[in-house]
Chain length 187, copies 2
DNA sequence: GTACAATCGGAATCGTCATTCCGCTTCAAG
DNA sequence: CTTGAAGCGGAATGACGATTCCGATTGTAC
């Protein structure tokens, strides 16, 4: 039987962590997270073995949501827009909260099995959407997944760190998307 | 009179720091820098008050080089290509070494006066090159500096953190540049 | 060659967290 | 209502590194 207070506290910790990590990223202190959850540090550690584990739990949940969104877009069978919508979705998500997945990664912190799996899934989801879009001529044929990943990462990181207004993000994406469309009929 | 050994050591420290910080970024330890410079930590501190100061000195030098390049491109009076060349130059520089300017910034470390000045200069250099390119129709008119900065930051950060091969970077930039070109004559 | 100030090197210090520990409290089964 | 187990709070611990300190060196001026 799971104690009711334990469940409640776990939820409070997750919520607080999502907020604090979203605001301060990896530099946030465990004390701060505990404080905002209205709980002692010990309690945080009872639920999550380590700062990294707590972080992973949060990121993982967000990635799952994005993967769902990808599946939904794919099912909608609108290959002309699905890819672009998903791309925009990811960037919007990054803008909302500091994910710092890349910071984590570049900091050399090991990517755990679960995360590796998600990474693969994300990659596949993008590849699928991209292929669909290319099939119907919505995206030029001479781009491949690596370029897409680079563009998506770049856009996400910029959105994450910078302090851009919505309109700027929209215009930035517009430029990117135009670049991805098929070239005008060559001379 | 500046002692000859002091000058020599300062140079050694700078060189080592450029290498080490370039490889490991901000997480590099002062001991490591000292060791690679073949010098004691105390010596490092005699020349640079703080890790941040050392870091700033290096970044500052690199930015100056980029600013020179911008001026040179502007003087070359080839408005069609200057902007694009500079953009590619910055990204290539980021790919070569971890600048981590943004990491620094997002870490909340104060930007000193000198750096603020360089930031402004960089901004102006880009604005100039952009204006020139737009004047001759090499870049679409509905993009402005903020979007350019977002794109440049995104591309640089992706290049910095990721492990992309040269060809991928080239294709990525190609997409970006195509997106920045004037739209094909509307229907 | 001598003297003195500028430098050195690197051990010791200090501060900052993540993580651990443990006596106290609270839940829920009987 | 009683009791044992699970959970709690938060002080204490431990590691890691930046920065400081100071006796030993070394460069330069005279």
């Amino acid at each position: 039987m799971i104690r009711s207070d334990a469940a409640r506290n776990r939820a409070k910790v997750l919520a607080a962590a999502e907020t604090v990590l979203g605001e301060q990223g990896l530099t946030a202190r465990m004390d701060e997270i505990a404080r905002r959850a209205g709980v002692g540090v010990g309690t945080v550690y009872r639920h999550f073995a380590t700062k990294e584990a707590l972080y992973a739990a949060i990121v993982s949940a967000r990635v799952d949501l994005l993967l769902d969104e990808a599946a939904r877009l794919r099912a909608a069978a609108e290959p002309e827009t699905g890819f672009f919508r998903f791309f925009a979705q990811v960037v919007a998500d990054a803008a909302r909260k500091k994910t710092l997945t890349d910071a984590l990664h570049s900091a050399g912190i090991d990517v755990k099995a679960e995360q590796a799996g998600q990474r693969t899934q994300m990659r596949e989801a993008l590849a699928d959407l991209l292929r669909d879009a290319q099939r119907v001529g919505a995206v030029r044929l001479d781009v491949d997944l690596p370029e897409i990943l680079a563009l998506l990462r770049g856009a996400s990181m910029a959105a994450e760190t910078g302090d851009y207004s919505g309109p700027v993000i929209d215009r930035t994406l517009a430029v990117l998307f135009d670049g991805l469309r098929p070239l005008a009929p060559p001379a």
